[in-house]
Each structure stands twice: as structure tokens, then as C-alpha cells.
Symmetry: C2
Subunit: 567 residues, 2 copies
């Protein structure tokens, strides 16, 4: 019997995973990977850490944990998979079931036939049609070659100027690498906040503060108009709507686009985001052709709607499902939660599910909350702050999404939120989770439990609050209210919001000072993190005050100007 022939186009993440799994499930299949680049199976997400010198040798990004480079020989010997690298798949004839390939070194072309075809062709950085983007010294960061080009300049980078165009994940991770090399870094972002597709402004503001505190020049709400070159065709400055920045080089990082041209030419169905449409088995509109990784459209498990979320972790899961289905094993990909995490200098940022902006766009009826707390008991050495935001559906009480920011351990908490969102858990269920507890790792009331409890209090109408963004708006609108700080005088001396509405009454004195407050007036209570702010709301309501709220997250979550005593 002739062997079942599988051709996989693309050798970075989904492709090699598919190939390896197929061979484990059915050693009789004949599997070929076609890859246009030289390198296979590399960790694209590791490139920023190669840039920053944290990863010394780029081959580590394409090695097994025991140091074996996953090259064509490796795939052949260990996985029994044929690899054609430096080979371009120029076209596919679906009738004849053949792929037309061209060797990029020799120029030689040939036809290879398949029984099953897998498209794992990835995504490419989006390079906007701006004047000067083709100048020397303008880079993107998608391939090992990109990273090597920049890294080759190492040693002379310190003191040099770079403009990073785009404040998304890759832009920020690259900015970190450049800051670490002592460069002057400017980030130009078209929108008003960084990571705008991922996190809400009230979370992004804390990222802005971190970037600024580390000397990054953050140009928000600004667009690149052109790149200017010198006589030798090398970029020398970046002109934006608001200014001009001299540069030694430029990194373009304004997002990526699925590589769907081949699929489009083949007549396969393409989705709203320009990515290849697949069903839950990762099958395209042609039943013999599968697709996975950064070139396909996913389904968001919260909204049930299509999403484009290129991510190495997702690509690997796609590969498993594709292999299973090619080998006749039932298997489905359940969709994405839109999870992301990153470290930028001394701050960690993560998210899953829906942001508030997304929940609003979806027409959800939701509440939000902000909870800043140490990631361990405050008495344990090295406890660090994290700020958690929850978005919760009002009617079902389900967690729709979470965002976490801060220097502390965000990973431990976001993964719980991912799991809870994926399970459709309510905040009542989350509040009961028996999360593992010991002081070196977490507080007795873990940050996630605290958030679930705040959400329950809000949904039950016990806790009532404004977000800092809402309070700021009220101030900008010149509204009259008492902005009641219930911390101690020492805390007030060290850090405070300076506004004439602020009145200081420590919580322990609130009951005896009740006559200092007017019952008719709107009162917004806060403290350091607004646990006492919430207590104050309850005390005042018990005393007959009718219009009391607290401010989510207290002065710690106030991202705007505030007085902070210098050490």
C-alpha cells in the first residue's frame, strides 16, 4: 500500500509539532516539511531576549533542552520527517493535489504530491506604506535573521538612539532590550495607550509610568509620517505628527498580518481578519487541507466570535489537533481566551478573556473592579505589588476577563483567571477556590480570591464604587463631592492625591467624626488600596449617608499626578 503523504508548509511552530505528532501516531505516514527560511522550529517569542543578550546564542532558540539543534538532519534522524528548507511553496494545485516548490538557493523547481496538506505559514510584520521604510537601518523582529541583524551591532548600541514604532507586545519587549543595552529609546504609538488591544487604559497607565521612570520617551497619540535617510540610504530620523527624532536605527513593530496569500490564491476561505478560516478540527474549506498557527483565525471562547491572536502557545495546540485529525483521531481545538503576558523592565503585565473595552463593544452588562495587593503576605520578604482588574458579567456572575499589572507575581494569578474564564466560572465559584497557600507564595486570601469577593460584594450591591478613571472625569467636570481619604496622617504625608475635594479622616476616627461630613453631599472614600475605603462606605451608609461610594484600588491605583514624598 502506498504511504499516506503529508506535506506541511511552514517549519517554525505549528508545522514541526504537526509533523512530530503525526509520526508518533502513525509511523507509516510520509511527512515532508517545506520551509522557506534556513532555520526550523525556533522560538520566535525568544527573539527579544536574544536582542537583550539574555539569550547568548541564537541557536539556543532552535535547540532541544539538551542542546541539539533541530535542523533538517535532526528531523530526519530523530523524527523520520523529511525537511526541505530554503524552499518556497509557490503554489498549490488542489485538483492534482500537488505543491509547486522552488529551492531558493538553486532555483530548482518541482512538484510534490500530497494526500493531506497543512498550511502553517505564519504571519509577517505589517510594514505600513510610509516613506522611508525601505531605508537601511529599519528593522522588524520576526525572524532569527532580523534579530541577528540588530544584535550584530551590539557593543556599539549604548548611547545610540532608536525609535520603536508601535507600543504592542513586540514593540515593548524590544524596547526593554534596547533600554538594557543603554540606548535612548523612543516609542511612537498611534493610540493613547500602549498595549491598547490587550489592556484597558487604567491598567496601561501603570505601564506608561514604568516606561517613563526608566527613561523611555513615550510618544502616544502620535503617528510616524516619514523616515528620513542620509546620503548612504541609511535612516537618520523619524518624523511624526508631533515631532522629529534623530535615530541610529528604527524598529517597526506595529503588529503582524497572517500570511494568507497562498491560501487566497488556492481559493480557500479567508476570515474577517484576513486569516485562513478553519473549523474546530483545523480543517480549511478544502477537507484535505488543514491550517494552523499564526496564519489562521481562532474563535474566542468568551464571545464565540472570530479572533486573530498569533501566539506560539496556540500554534503548538493547533499542531496536535491537525495531526490527530490527519491520523483519523477525533480532536478539536476549543478556541482561545486571548491570554497574554509580558515582562517590560520591572513590571509584568498579563490579561485573559475580555477587557472592559471589549466587554463594552460586545454589549455586555458588566461590572469591573481594581484590587492592588502584595503578591505575598506583606510581612514576607520581597512581597511585591500586583494590581488585578476583573470584568464580570452582571447577570451570570461569570468572570469575563482579567488584567494584572505590577512588579509582583502576575503569572500565578493570570493562569487561574485563564482556567476560570475557560470553565465559565462565576465569581462565587472563584471565591471558593482552595488555592494553595503559604507565605513564600501567596497570602491567605489570595489576590484572586479577594477580587472574587469584591466582585460578589459589588454584584450584591454591598460595595459601590467608581474607577479612578471615572473619578478623574468627575474632577475634570468640576463636580462637587467629598473625596474622603481614610488613611492615617503618616500615610497621607508620604503619598496623596492633591485636590481641594480631598478630606482626611482616618478610618479609626470616622465614627467619632461623623458630624464633620454633610449627609446630602456625594462622598467618595478611598485609602491606600480601598479596603478601608470600602469599610468607610459601609460605615457611612450605616450612619444614614445616602450617596457614598469608594474609589476602586485607592491611591495605589490612581495613575494620575499625585504627591509622593521622595525617599
Amino acid at each position: 500500500m502506498e504511504k499516506h503523504k503529508v506535506i506541511i508548509i511552514g517549519g517554525v511552530a505549528c508545522g514541526p509539532k504537526t509533523a512530530a505528532r503525526i509520526k508518533r501516531l502513525n509511523a507509516d505516514m510520509d511527512v515532508t516539511i517545506i520551509e522557506k527560511g534556513e532555520f526550523l522550529s525556533y522560538a520566535g517569542c525568544g527573539l527579544p531576549y536574544y536582542l537583550s543578550n539574555e539569550v547568548n546564542d541564537y541557536t539556543e532558540l532552535m535547540s532541544t533542552p539538551t542542546g541539539v539543534v533541530r535542523d533538517a538532519v535532526f528531523f530526519n534522524k530523530v523524527k523520520d520527517v523529511r525537511v526541505l528548507n530554503k524552499t518556497l511553496a509557490e503554489g498549490v494545485d488542489r485538483e492534482k493535489k500537488v505543491v509547486n516548490v522552488r529551492n531558493l538557493d538553486s532555483g530548482e523547481t518541482k512538484e510534490i504530491s500530497y494526500d493531506s496538506l497543512v498550511l502553517a505559514v505564519g504571519a509577517s510584520p505589517f510594514i505600513p506604506p510610509i516613506q522611508g521604510v525601505d531605508l537601511k537601518g529599519v528593522y522588524s523582529l520576526t525572524t532569527v535573521e532580523d534579530a541577528r541583524n540588530i544584535r550584530d551591532m551590539q557593543g556599539v548600541l549604548s548611547g545610540k538612539n532608536v525609535v520603536v514604532v508601535g507600543g504592542g507586545l513586540i514593540g515593548l519587549e524590544a524596547a526593554e532590550a534596547f533600554v538594557k543595552q543603554g540606548m535612548n529609546v523612543t516609542i511612537v504609538e498611534r493610540l493613547k495607550t500602549v498595549l491598547a488591544a490587550l489592556i484597558d487604559p487604567e491598567i496601561a497607565y501603570h505601564v506608561h509610568n514604568e516606561l517613563k521612570s526608566k527613561g523611555v520617551n513615550l510618544c502616544l497619540d502620535d503617528s510616524v509620517e516619514k523616515l528620513v535617510g542620509d546620503n548612504e540610504g541609511r535612516v537618520k530620523s523619524v518624523v511624526t505628527e508631533k515631532g522629529e527624532f534623530p535615530v541610529d536605527f528604527v524598529l517597526m513593530a506595529i503588529g503582524s498580518r497572517p500570511n494568507a496569500v497562498l491560501a487566497k490564491n488556492m481559493g480557500l476561505e479567508i476570515g474577517d481578519f484576513g486569516a485562513i478560516k478553519v473549523d474546530a478540527c483545523m480543517r480549511t474549506s478544502d477537507p484535505d487541507i488543514f491550517a494552523g498557527g499564526d496564519c489562521v483565525e481562532n474563535i474566542n471562547i468568551v464571545t464565540g466570535k472570530p479572533a486573530f491572536t498569533p501566539m506560539g502557545s496556540v500554534a503548538n495546540k493547533h499542531g496536535r489537533v491537525i495531526a490527530d485529525n490527519i491520523c483519523g483521531k477525533e480532536s478539536q481545538f476549543k478556541g482561545v481566551a486571548g491570554s497574554a503576558i509580558c515582562k517590560i523592565l520591572d513590571i509584568n503585565i498579563s490579561r485573559t478573556g475580555l477587557s472592559e473595552q471589549e466587554a463594552k463593544k460586545e454589549g455586555c452588562d458588566y461590572i469591573t473592579l481594581l484590587s492592588p495587593s502584595p503578591d505575598k503576605p506583606h510581612f514576607y520578604p520581597d512581597a511585591k505589588l500586583i494590581i488585578v482588574k476583573f470584568v464580570v458579567d452582571k447577570k451570570t456572575r461569570k468572570l469575563l476577563g482579567a488584567q494584572i499589572v505590577g512588579p509582583g507575581d502576575v503569572a500565578q494569578r493570570i493562569q487561574v483567571a485563564v482556567t476560570a474564564v475557560s470553565n465559565g466560572s462565576t465569581v462565587d465559584e472563584i471565591g471558593c477556590l482552595d488555592l494553595a497557600y503559604a507565605p513564600p507564595f501567596a497570602s491567605a486570601m489570595d489576590n484572586i480570591i479577594v477580587c472574587a469577593n469584591i466582585a460578589r460584594n459589588k454584584l450584591d450591591g454591598i460595595a459601590r464604587s467608581f474607577s479612578p478613571v471615572e473619578v478623574k472625569e468627575k474632577i475634570m467636570n468640576n463636580e462637587d463631592f467629598i473625596f474622603l481619604d481614610v488613611r492615617g496622617p503618616d500615610e497621607y504625608e508620604m503619598m496623596r492625591i492633591e485636590d481641594p475635594r480631598v478630606k482626611l479622616i482616618p478610618l479609626g476616627k470616622l465614627r467619632e467624626s461623623i458630624n464633620e461630613l454633610e449627609k446630602e453631599k456625594e462622598i467618595i472614600c478611598f485609602c491606600k488600596i480601598s479596603l478601608r475605603g470600602y469599610e468607610a462606605q459601609r460605615i457611612l451608609e450605616a450612619e444614614g449617608f445616602g450617596n457614598v461610594k469608594f474609589m476602586d484600588g485607592g491611591v495605589v491605583c490612581w495613575p494620575y499626578d499625585k504627591f509622593v514624598q521622595s525617599a
Copy 2:
């Protein structure tokens, strides 16, 4: 109208939480806490870190994050809660609904009446009836006073001898503190492994190795027969079944028992573990009396059976539920997953759900697996090993429990397992979780995803394995098999299992060396972590070998003697 009077007996964790929540829900209630000790609302789980000097001042353990000590004045001023400390609740008359209390300083007694009563009286260290336990220098570690007594000796501890009796959580955490102070530490544990109630032997062995490598004298399968004192009534040595150890002091840490005498005297129902029986609303057999914290019995959410799991994190959740029910708000405690986590020197250990031992006892039909992997991509600086064990139900494919051990980030993974076990997730669902991914935090295929996939492969009959414990048994039984190491020669040089059954054929050479292996013979493949071991199993099966398995977790998870090249 007369105020509703709530009396709470116990002021450490559940009690204060109950009091504060009641006042937030209904300021009109009259709430009194009765506490026999001087101190309130302290973090008992922080005591080992006070011992080790990581926490400088014991008052930090009973302070709010802003440094306010939660004493009687604090509770009165801030929470509007009356506190009677140094006061013993001697008895309760359920007919008259009064508590008889005695002030431990003045000896004064009085009756206080209640409408609702809460028992939050905690647990006490179990002190076995051994000769000499009442000698001077014999401590336990439950109260702040205990910790202060030991800490008062600090500065002279280095070089001194201590025997810790009991290898449970508190015993090990205290042992860490003593090692850090330069003491000679002996642990005497009655069972064959440490943490035997929590983790399986194949996980515990790695803890043993860590303790031994840090100089701890580990006496397993041994019992204390008596403590011997000097002329001044001070302990000078510990005599066990197997030896005698001179000591400067002794720490008894063989577990705790619920404080249920008062409840028993009151005629309340007591459960199998000697703890107070409560319903899901935390109500005792008397509808006006609630109980929570370390003195009550919980329900294990996996087995549905009673469990005694004293834990500060659980006590806080109890408090919330009790307060809600006293205030007429519907609220239930869903039970415990038996989660635990601890750090012992340079190793972290955590668990949730059922261990293999427990699953066996419950009569479950299960599979297990071991997966050792770095906690981040191997190329990222500071990636550290963690070993994950899953116990999975064969029929339902649900995760029954997880155990994780290693120097790396176990917390991030155990909390996902806690959430998954709580949701009754199958390994198929867990394998699809869109866990947040970036190299500083996790690998593209997170450890938990890898484990879920291994479990699916095993359940589907694709992957077949023995645990290291099973292989060791086969060796001890002199069974004949090929113990096939498929790593490279370099790896073999650095670390190897030394047994005549071992045969080295690197995976990349396996196909061409197939004739070196006898088809009839049993073959057990392994590599460093047994990913290649699994590949080898699949390759050999495809070549017609009928009796092939791999060994779970490879040489990394082999906890027995092995050759390791010194650096």
C-alpha cells in the same frame, strides 16, 4: 429593638474575619470576640519565617499591610467590634444562650449572652504521651509565644543541635529556619517519607534529596521513644527506635488536633476526625451556633468525604460564609481541594486533589504520570526544573489531583491544577487551556499542558509507561528487561542509571540500530525526561516490538542512586 448579639470565640483567623464581615454587612449587630491569648488576628503560617529571621518583628504578623497592629483597640475603633482577650470561654449554656468566660489575668468570671455563637477555636499541636515531652527546651510552633521562645535564643543557635519530631509541613518549614541559622538539624519521622499525608513517595524522594544535600539528618521510619533531661530538667537528648541524638532543644511537630473539647462538652456533633461537624453554611448541629477555621471538619470536593485540613486560607473563607449566614445572606462553603504548598530550602513542593495513595484508597481507576521540565523555555536565563505528577481518572478523564516539586515556579502550575480539579476538568479540557505565554514566565507548551497531553496519550493507549517506583521494583525482583537509554553519549557521561540492564542507543540512531534489540524481550525506554523515551516507545512499536514501555520522567525523575559527574 435590641441588637442581635454575636459572640465569636477565637480571635486568630476565622474569628476576626467573621466579625469584620458581619459589621460590614450589618453595622447594627453587636459583635464580641473572646480570645484566650494576648494576640489577635495573627498569621500563624508566618511563624516559621519569624523563626528564620526573614520576618524581623513578630508584630508584623499581626499588623495590617500599612503597619497598624490589629489589637483590641484597633478592632474597637476601626471595626466596631468588642474584644475580650486573655479571656477563656469556659463553657456554653445552649439553653440559656450564654457563654461563661474567665479573665485569665484577674480571674474574674462572667456570663455573656448571645443570639448567634461562632466557634473559631482553632487546633492545637498534638503532643504525644512520650516520656520527657514536658522537659524544658521542648517546643511546639503554633502560637506567637512559641515562636518568641525559640527566637529568643537566636544568635546562639549556630552550631547547636535540634531534633524536629515530625516531617510534615510545619516540621519541614521549621527545619528550614533552623538550617538557615546554622544549626545541626535532625528530622525524625515515623513514616518512610516526609509529607506523607500530602505527597506520594516518588515526589517525596526529591524532597529527601534536597534535605540531605543541605546537611539535614533525615531519620525516616523511626520513632521517638523518649526525651532525656539533664539535672536542671532541660532536654539533653532524644532517644529513637534507631538511635540517640544529643540536642540543645526539640521541636514537636507531629500534626495538630482540632480544639473540640468545648464543642463536645456543649453536646455539639463531632466528626470522624474529632473536629466539629458543620453543614455547608458552617452551621453546627445547633442552628444558632456556627463554627469555622481549624476546629471544623471540611468536605473534600473530589471525594465528597469529610477531611481535616487546617489552613489559614480556608479559615478566612469560612469566616465569610458564617458572617453571611448570620446576617441572613445565603452563602455556602463548597469544600476543600486539599491544596498545599511550601518552600523548603531550595525546593518548592505543592499538591492539590488526590495523591495516588489517596486515589488508590478511594478505589479509583486511575493513571498517573511524571513530567519534569524547566519552568520557562530552557534558553531563558534562570529556567529551573519542576516535576509534575498528575493522577487522572481513567473513565471520566478528569484530573483527580496534582503534585509538583522542584526548584522552579510550582505555584503558577498548582493553582491551575486547583482550579481545574475544582471545576472537574478533564485532561482534554486542560490540554486546550489558553495559558498565558511569554519566555520570562512559561514555555509555549506550559508544563500543565504537557502533562495533560501525556495523560491523553496514556488514556488513549498511545503512550505506555512504568513509574520509576515500578521500574525499581522490577529491578529489585531481578526481572529481565532492556533498560533502553536513548540519550546522547555526552548526556550519558554526565548522569546515568548504573544497572546491567541499561543499554545506550541515542534516539537518532535507534532506527538504524533496531537489530541490536530482541523483539521478544521487554524494553523500558527512557531519556532525560522521557519525551525521547516516549518517542522510542512509538518507534519500536512501529517496528513490531510488542512489549515496550517508557519510564515516566526519565533519569531526572529517578530518585534512587545514580551516577552524576561532579562539576
